[in-house]
């Protein structure tokens, strides 16, 4: 009996060890990816802030021209671009985004999933997806532009009443918070008393404005993707660190059990020998 139990414990220990190896490796990979990703996310923030500041200043200038990007088309559905990861094993990263999104989704919303996990999740939900999920690993600056131009065109045709983006912000290495941002319609500052600058638009005000909007969307999308990627790595590192620690704890517990069982077996054997020799 003692023999069987030490064997069972031994095999559990072995499987635990290999689990620990995997989680440790994933943690290290995530940590090294995180270093680069964090730096890129920070660089992106500069870009994002300037982009936003620029749009804000343009919007403060007000406009006398009717741009299709400023009004919300009637009969369209609100579109949500949801950014999640391609893979799991990242703690609550994917789930937090989904929970947050679902809590604010209106009944008639449509989803544009980015990341395989987002695709899988929303395919099963009652909301409609406008496309298959694009893996976030495949999203380059170029594809951000293609996507935003496509969405902007569809917005112009009146298919969507608004376009929002849901992503995860890397607050710190230990905290990642899902956030959302409305991209379209472009909201102009109603407080016209602030500053009334009349911009000169090179090549026709509406034409320039309409070509700037997709650029702006692409910029925001790209930044959100980078931010999300950094958040994913941070979440994965934390989760895998916790998993490795749990595995360590489990291994030390099992080692203790194993030694106790082994000791018990030895003691029993000795007792049997001693009992035999006394007869």
């Amino acid at each position: 009996m003692a023999g069987v139990s030490t064997k069972a414990i031994k095999s559990r220990m072995k499987s635990m060890e290999s689990t620990r190896q995997i989680t440790k490796a994933m943690e290290l990979v995530a940590a090294s990816k995180l270093r680069g990703a964090q730096e890129r996310a920070l660089n992106n923030r500069t870009y994002f802030n300037t982009l936003f500041e620029t749009m804000d200043m343009i919007s403060k200038g007000g406009s006398e021209f009717p741009s299709p990007f400023m009004k919300s088309p009637e009969g369209g559905k609100p579109l949500f671009i949801v950014i999640a990861g391609d893979r799991g094993m990242a703690g609550g990263y994917n789930n937090n985004v989904f929970k947050y999104t679902v809590s604010m989704l209106p009944e008639n919303a449509v989803i544009f999933p980015l990341g395989k996990r987002a695709g899988e999740y929303f395919k099963r939900s009652r909301w409609e997806c406008i496309s298959e999920a694009v893996p976030v690993a495949d999203m380059t600056v170029g594809s951000c532009y293609t996507v935003s131009r496509m969405l902007a065109d569809q917005y112009r045709e009146g298919r969507f009443s608004s376009i929002s983006i849901v992503y995860t912000e890397l607050v710190s290495l230990l905290t990642q918070t899902p956030r959302s941002k409305e991209l379209l319609p472009v909201r102009f500052n109603d407080d016209r008393t602030v500053r009334k600058a009349s911009f000169i638009y090179e090549g026709g005000d509406q034409a320039v404005f309409d070509s700037i909007v997709p650029e702006y969307m692409a910029g925001v999308l790209y930044c959100a993707l980078k931010e999300g990627f950094a958040s994913e790595q941070a979440a994965r590192r934390t989760a895998m660190d916790a998993a490795s620690k749990n595995a360590d704890e489990m291994i030390s517990k099992l080692t203790l059990h194993y030694n106790m069982a082994r000791q018990a077996a030895i003691t029993q054997e000795i007792t049997e020998i001693v009992a035999g020799s006394e007869q």
Partner: protein, 133 residues
């Protein structure tokens, strides 16, 4: 010469922030130069060489896509890509040029792919032109 505040950013980060005397770049409508106290101005950026003149001298860069805004003696350039002359990867640009030329020579390209390739070729040409003069 009078100075203005210039800020150049791209998704790769901040490329320049500080005073400048003049900036020349290619918009979708043609080349423009901005001096200090320019009127409020918005343009979308095309593909071409950007020249920045500061007190230290002249710097060149390849500026592709994005927007340009001038307001309150501040110039913001939010570019899709912006590389200073010294940062351009000439080998990569050459490879891109060769690749696109070879692809464009093939028959039966669909319209979207052709447009993408043409744009890629143009970008490579701009980079090489900036890097090599």
């Amino acid at each position: 010469m009078n100075n203005f505040q210039l800020k150049i950013v791209s998704p790769d980060g901040c490329l320049y922030e500080g005073e400048a005397q003049l900036i020349t770049l290619m918009t979708t409508q043609g080349e423009v130069s901005i001096l200090a106290h320019h009127t409020e101005y918005v343009a979308s950026i095309g593909m071409g060489r950007a020249t920045v003149v500061t007190e230290e001298g002249r710097r060149y860069g390849a500026c592709i896509g994005g927007m340009l805004m001038v307001a309150e003696n501040k110039v913001n350039i939010v570019a899709t890509t912006f590389e200073w002359k010294e940062d351009i990867d000439v080998e990569r640009a050459k490879a891109a040029l060769a690749y696109t030329e070879a692809e464009l020579a093939k028959d039966g390209l669909d319209e979207t792919r052709r447009t993408l390739l043409e744009a890629k070729k143009h970008r490579a040409k701009v980079r090489l032109a900036v890097a090599e003069n």
